[in-house]
Symmetry: D2
Subunit: 317 residues, 4 copies
């Protein structure tokens, strides 16, 4: 299967480079040895549960001890801090809210890198600034470990059902090893390139999503004011060049579609605050790379205004 | 067939109203009587040719006599002005560049309404302000004629191959009559509601298209600067929530797709100037209906800046 | 005094053209003959009162009869409609809410132009689309009358105290005649050029004002969040290149200045809805002249969003 | 003089707190002891020259040795790196292009903090992220030194003539000491509050400046297209509520004013690239503090687009 997967990776047109595999010789990939998991929030907990379901012994930690209870009952070993996880497991997945948390968990006083074993595989599924991912990769490399960024697309539902999409950045030779774990938690695992490109892909997708969502909202609103029936307008857009995910899969106008947050007072779904955070990352990376992103930037501002007006917890549509 | 079509129209959930059909009693719909066509530009000429191909005698005019030559050679009758067209044909299609041209062709000194026959069907396929469509409908009604707006989606290629999409606004009872002609020139004919809603649907679609196109451009550009391969990024977006027509069908980055203007120095396709014009209409209708359209408005401004910098004739991608 | 004023006008660098003054021979400028006034709203009423104060007999009308009472008690003659005003007065000032009202009052069935005397001077102080001003000027000219646009800067307070600024567009030779009346109602009367340029100047000023106001608001807000004292920040901006009218005269942050709406729960002042209307005019003229105005356009959208969220009646700061 | 200055500071309404002044006991403020200067670029060189003119012995360094020649000829002592400057001077001014340079010069292997004396006063006049200023202040405090941020307003001309404005953040008790040096280089020295507030004030001013400049440009352009004379329009704006620094002091339209870059093909002045950098800082601080800045954000994007189109080196107007 590894051959098949590697073959499919080669479709992306990337060549293999010569690397020193002595680095990873101590890591046991064939058997289901213990996997570390750090960050048991809304997303992390169901992800760790899926690792357990697939037969991996899990050793986990979280800053909030109560978050660990359910996992402990399911058989996971709970320890005090990331350093202790790293002391026992040579494959670790982290799922944290933002860049400062990642920096703390990896390089802090009780961080992973204090006790990481040589050859360990560290997979960070948080959505953070790709520049931070690169810093973590450099710091991990100094300790002889491999860091990969693997942010996810899909919400709590997809995390529970193991249907997340992972966008993975890092040394290509380690992708198969990462994939072994990630396929337990997700339906799609896509190799994106060097460290940080997983984050880049995630950020790009969410920026375009935000633009499409706001664009769809104002278009639907304009059409309704011009006398068009919302369902009819959605139908026309979806058969024409205005079509996008926000118009055909997650329409923001109540009553146009069933089973989406717009039909349920914008409860559930992907919070406006989280979208604002991702757009902030897009903004920061655009500023750092001097890339003009006028619509992405305005979308960011609009979500910021929505948050400032008290809609932070509502779905972004 | 009429029954089938009417049936399909009812799917849109609109009920039939009682109307006075004496109005249209004089119009012969069964046989292929002469059809008027006014405006033989890049779009109008292939449209009129498709009417000829389907066996309709065409009587046409254009302000530029040279535009009429080809059609005359194909058997169309050429007359001097719109009034003379209206004097002979009781079904007329108009395809003109902008609102003032439509006003002139309908209500000018040699306009259609000077000699229009009672019961005539007047179909305007120009893309204009829906408010002007409504004015024309009122003026036509005073003369006992029926006006419908039927702007198109699709460019010169679709016009030539008869694959345009028509978005039709007007009295529902006349839709079948309009459809008889429009199906000769297009693959989809969609009934949108009262007069002006065809324009509204067109404007809404193009506004969302413009937002999606600029959004895709900046997202692809950001991703490339962050180290992602453009083809890979397009693939990821298209399997995720960032997906839109501009990312999966008309990608603006050279080399990502074949057969689109981006692969050919942005030649051909849909001109930046035309997009700016449509966004101007969107802006005007939004202002008149007091609808906030922040992204649509910024997209308009960006296309205006592109035009001001000399890219008016390039494809909008 | 006329010589002085004409001299001051020449400072604007405009040369006098030879015109036929027989047109205005019948109008008596030396004595204080009757002046017509149409539109007695919040602005129009105090303006008409200032004409009365300066000794001009006023003949007035308004669509709402109750608006006329106070003026009638002060000695003005009230008539039924604009045509009757034009039947008696050869100098008329109009002050109306928007373009359609102006069109109705000038060219409607009981409009001024139905009974206007040859050589009459018609001054419109409404803020409307300059294109409509030009249409009215053409229509007036056909009847042998002179139309000038003279929109105002300054609110109800300035209207009451006679301290408005008038921006006047029209035939330069008539400026002195207009000025005679306008100086009774305003402190500054500026000649701007051909018909419509008064509106253009007003629209341009208000667009830049809106940009400055929103810019000041977000800057003050950002500074406060970064730990700056608002009064100190305003002081720094005002001594630096960030200085603008909104920062030094009408600061939007409560407590920074006294005697401005921000210090009084944004009551009074210039309504958000009115600003949105003026920005809509700016947008329309920009679209018609194909001028990119990205910040003006976004400012328009932001005021539209404010109106949509229920702040239409609050001051624009 | 200190009393007077302190008095003027108290105008800002800040009270004195009790602090331990033993920290600064070793620093000799009365006599003109050596002052360190790091960063001898376009701005730094004339600033250092002004210190020399005021009788201060200067010890300086720069990464480009050739930048040091002129200063050396004027009597300054040139050393190899920041650490050596700190070894000799207990008052140091730094003037560097961006955040990474500041981090390097203060905390790098040959950085100031490697050899800084207890009680030293470190004044950074670079324009950088206020968060970095705070980090440097913390790092300096650990070494027993005092760090203040003091970014400048005004360009190379103001630096040469000693007419810069300094916006100073830091411990208030040290402001007088900083002021002693800064008044040699600037006309205004304003105390803004805690460390980082100098940067905050600078960033806020430049964001509002950018908004005002682009706003003025589009307004002037719109007015000209509507038929207004540019000088007349500028005059009207400047006597009305549209007035701002960009309209009355630095008008972007060639021919409206003399002695500004717009009259000289936009040569000289404040580069578009530098403005884009400052707007990037504004964007970053706004994102970090979750402050909506829609116009500031769009202004940033517009300057980014200008840079991307090759105008990076032109004046920002």
């Amino acid at each position: 299967m590894a051959a098949v997967l590697r073959g499919s990776r080669n479709l992306w047109g990337r060549s293999l480079k010569h690397v020193d595999f002595t680095l990873v010789s101590s890591r046991s990939m064939a058997s289901k040895t213990q996997v570390g998991f750090i960050g048991l929030g809304n997303m992390g907990k169901p992800m760790a549960k899926n690792l357990l379901k697939h037969g991996y012994p899990v050793i986990a930690t979280d800053v909030f001890p109560e978050s660990c209870k359910e996992l402990q009952e399911l058989g996971a070993q709970i320890v005090d801090n990331p350093a202790e996880v790293a002391d026992q497991a040579d494959r670790i997945v982290t799922m944290l809210p933002s860049s400062p948390n990642v920096i703390e968990v990896y390089t802090g006083p009780n961080g992973i890198l204090k006790k990481v074993k040589k050859g360990s595989l560290l997979i960070d599924s948080s959505t953070i600034d790709p520049a931070v991912s690169k810093e973590m990769a450099v710091a991990a490399e100094k300790m002889g470990a491999v860091f990969m960024d693997a942010p996810v697309s899909g919400g709590v539902g997809a995390a529970s059902s193991g249907k997340l999409t992972f966008m993975v950045g890092g040394v290509e030779e380690e992708f198969t090893a990462a994939q072994e774990l990630l396929t337990c938690m997700g339906a799609n695992v896509v190799y994106c390139g060097a460290v940080g490109t997983g984050q880049a892909a995630k950020i790009c997708n969410n920026m375009l999503l935000a633009i499409g969502m706001i664009g769809t909202s104002e278009t639907m609103n304009l059409g309704i004011r011009l006398g068009l029936d919302p369902k009819l307008l959605a139908k026309i857009l979806n058969m024409s060049s205005g079509r996008c995910w926000s118009s055909d899969t997650y329409n923001p106008v109540p009553g146009v579609m069933e089973g989406v947050p717009s039909g349920n007072h914008y409860q559930g779904g992907f919070g406006t605050q989280l979208m604002a955070k991702d757009l902030g990352l897009a903004q920061t990376t655009a500023t750092n790379t001097k890339t003009p992103v006028p619509l992405g930037s305005l979308a960011h501002q609009i979500y910021r205004m929505m948050c400032a007006r008290g809609y932070a917890g509502k779905d972004f549509s």
